[in-house]
């Protein structure tokens, strides 16, 4: 997907005025956060499991080269193949070559964020191979020709009415001419339309929540079972995964699985958690004849040695999205790339570059909720702060931002001038706010005053008040 993160401000402005989107975002905030809180409360060991999850991933990252080699060996031992790809382009081409090797005409896809990251669908389509998304959310946004707006619920920004319209428009060619209004019916129709597609597909492509070094397995977690149909019915199964998905053992996977579903949807376990190892065995009556893992770096190995290394612990649960006041206001599309929310604000600049994504680390109030709920205890706010510094250092911010930051730095280092300026500003604002105590329009703060009043300060600075009360 071509990033549009540069337009974050414009995107966000539009999102704030989109009433349907605002309703959808309210649902996210309410549903996910309450369910997660309940799930966490029901597992007394949750905090200790978080610590262990962090330790497992840190250990893997320290020895990533070795675990990847062990993983690859074990995939091959089980009859599969691993394809190492440095860039998105390498990975796309590899998937295409694999599809061509079995003369594939259509592929079914389970939800894969890496597939989005490398823009696989348009690429395959341009080569005459039809990609069919099977996760209901992904299917909906494929029909709408939109990117996902949330890593767990790609279509949560769509209302039921919008889904009804999309289905009516696109299912006409299957002879479905009635506009459905009940959710139950919509789910049923998607099931009916997609079932033959699963059976007809030549290749099934899934992502992986984990790759297990010990056994050479890939693990997917879904509620719909679409990923399982995708990886079972075609003659070839391709797993798309990035390097850092590795965990050492089945036991380590169990620990992370306990964290994942609870953090994501508040379930103890998602409906389906499936460990796949290699292709169909002798005697197996079903399953794919070939099993391939396309292993993508796309800049991650470099991150290992950077200040952003901890983001590689991310298990893509979406909890940080669900608890973020900025995400809850603007939704996922505003971020302009595959990954949104706090996690996207850290990862996107690392992959598409800070020049493109310099707005994202600013899309934070630094309230810290993301870090509080992140099962992998990733210090998201401090990494966003780090990106801000990086953006400044690399000249990625605007002239006005630079001047403002310079001016602030100058002032903050000169306490006497600082106090004088603060005093001036405070009394000016207090004067502007008379008689209501509110300011309706302020030249340098139109971003704020365009939509709401700015409360006027008391007129005297804190230090002045402090001194006046004799507390020096």
């Amino acid at each position: 997907m071509i990033p549009t993160s540069r337009q974050f401000k414009e995107n966000a402005g539009r999102a704030l005025k989109d009433t349907e989107l605002q309703k959808a975002l309210f649902r996210v905030d309410k549903n996910f956060t309450e369910r997660r809180a309940r799930a966490v409360k029901n597992l007394p060991e949750f905090e200790s499991l978080r610590d262990q999850g962090v330790a497992i991933k840190n250990h893997v990252l320290d020895h990533l080269d070795h675990y990847l080699e062990v993983f690859a060996e074990n995939v091959e031992r089980a009859g599969g193949q691993v394809h190492w790809c440095s860039t998105a382009e390498d990975a796309r081409r590899m998937v295409l070559d694999l599809c061509r090797s079995v003369n594939a005409r259509s592929v079914t896809k389970g939800k894969t964020m890496i597939g989005e990251e490398i823009s696989l669908n348009p690429y395959l389509a341009a080569q005459g191979i039809e990609p069919v998304e099977t996760d209901l959310g992904e299917y909906i946004i494929q029909l709408a020709d939109e990117p996902p707006s949330h890593i767990i619920g790609p279509a949560i920004h769509k209302t039921k009415e919008q889904v009804s319209d999309l289905f009516l428009e696109h299912h006409r060619r299957y002879g479905k001419t009635k506009r459905l209004t009940e959710g139950e019916e919509l789910v049923g129709e998607a099931r009916e339309i997609l079932r033959p597609r699963y059976l007809a597909a030549d290749v099934g492509i899934t992502g992986a929540n984990f790759l297990i070094a010990e056994t050479g397995s890939s693990v997917i977690v879904t509620n719909e079972g679409n990923g399982d149909l995708t990886q079972t019915l075609p003659k070839m199964h391709i797993v798309l995964a990035s390097l850092e998905k590795i965990v050492p053992t089945l036991e380590d996977a169990a620990t992370l699985i306990r964290l994942l579903a609870r953090s994501a949807t508040g379930q103890q376990m998602s409906v389906y958690t499936t460990v796949s190892t290699g292709p169909r065995r002798p005697g197996d009556p079903d399953g794919p004849g070939q099993y391939h893992v396309v292993l993508l770096d796309n800049g991650r190995s470099k991150l290992l040695g950077s200040a952003f290394r901890d983001i590689l612990r991310c298990i893509r649960c979406g909890a940080c999205f669900n608890h973020c006041p900025v995400y809850a206001s603007v939704g996922g599309h505003a971020y302009g790339w595959v990954y949104s929310g706090p996690m996207g604000s850290v990862l996107t600049p690392a992959i598409v570059g800070i020049a493109e994504a310099h707005h994202l680390p600013n899309a934070s109030t630094f309230c810290g909720r993301c870090q509080d709920v992140c099962p992998m205890r990733i210090p998201l706010p401090s990494m966003m702060r780090h990106w801000r510094e990086e953006a400044f250092a690399q000249d990625a911010c605007t002239w006005r931002e630079r001047m403002a930051i310079r001016g602030w730095a100058w002032l903050a280092r000169r306490p006497r001038s600082y106090r004088q300026v603060a005093r001036l500003v405070a009394s000016y604002l207090a004067w502007r706010g008379r008689p209501t105590g509110r300011i309706a329009d302020l030249a340098f703060a139109r971003g704020w005053t365009a939509t709401r009043d700015l409360p006027a300060p008391a007129g005297r600075t804190f230090l002045d008040l402090w001194r006046e009360r004799g507390r020096t």
Binding site: V70, G183, E214, N223, N226, D286, G305
Partner: protein
Amino acid sequence: MTRDAILVSIRDALGRGPLGAEARDLVSEHIRRHARNLVPDRGNVDADTKVALFSRQIQETHATLEYVATTDDVPGAITRYLSGKNLPAKVVLAPALAKLPWNEQPLLETKVGATRGEDAVAVTGAFAAIAETGTLLLTSGAESPQTLHLLPEHHVVVVRRDQVVGSMEDCWDRLRAQGPLPRTAMFVSGPSSTADIELTHYLGAHGPRRLHVIVVDR
């Protein structure tokens, strides 16, 4: 080779060369020992409590459940399930269950083997069941086609009491005791569902719409 380039890039970032023999051994030992991490206490209970815990929790995920005394009672339970749901008396069986006394149900039509979606009701066994979370473990293999676990609208799973374990870790132990992992080991907690439309929960997204569990006492 891309593989080497990636490995070198990782090592550069980590500021070291390839792991020395000693470090490699340590890491390999971590895999060989595959020690358990913290396992929640909840599943650490006696056998009867495990069965009760499993039963309660899987029903909370919208599955239904019943108990029968012996495996010989399973065909009768299936007939009752079908007529209770107004379904045609026709099922596809996992080969593992083919030896049950199906002929005692003369009106029930059975076939054995994998499916391509033409069957409405599948009856299969399980490899294990987990008390901690109310989860079934279904493995693929000659005796248990994976398509039966996914394509039919109704999936009936027969579990013996002694298959109910405490945790996922207990499942790993049992799987390892069998040899290499089967092609798929699928943990199932309830019927297929989705919340992709307005975050409302609907059953029967792509997999089975109904999941029925029969727990066999002996």
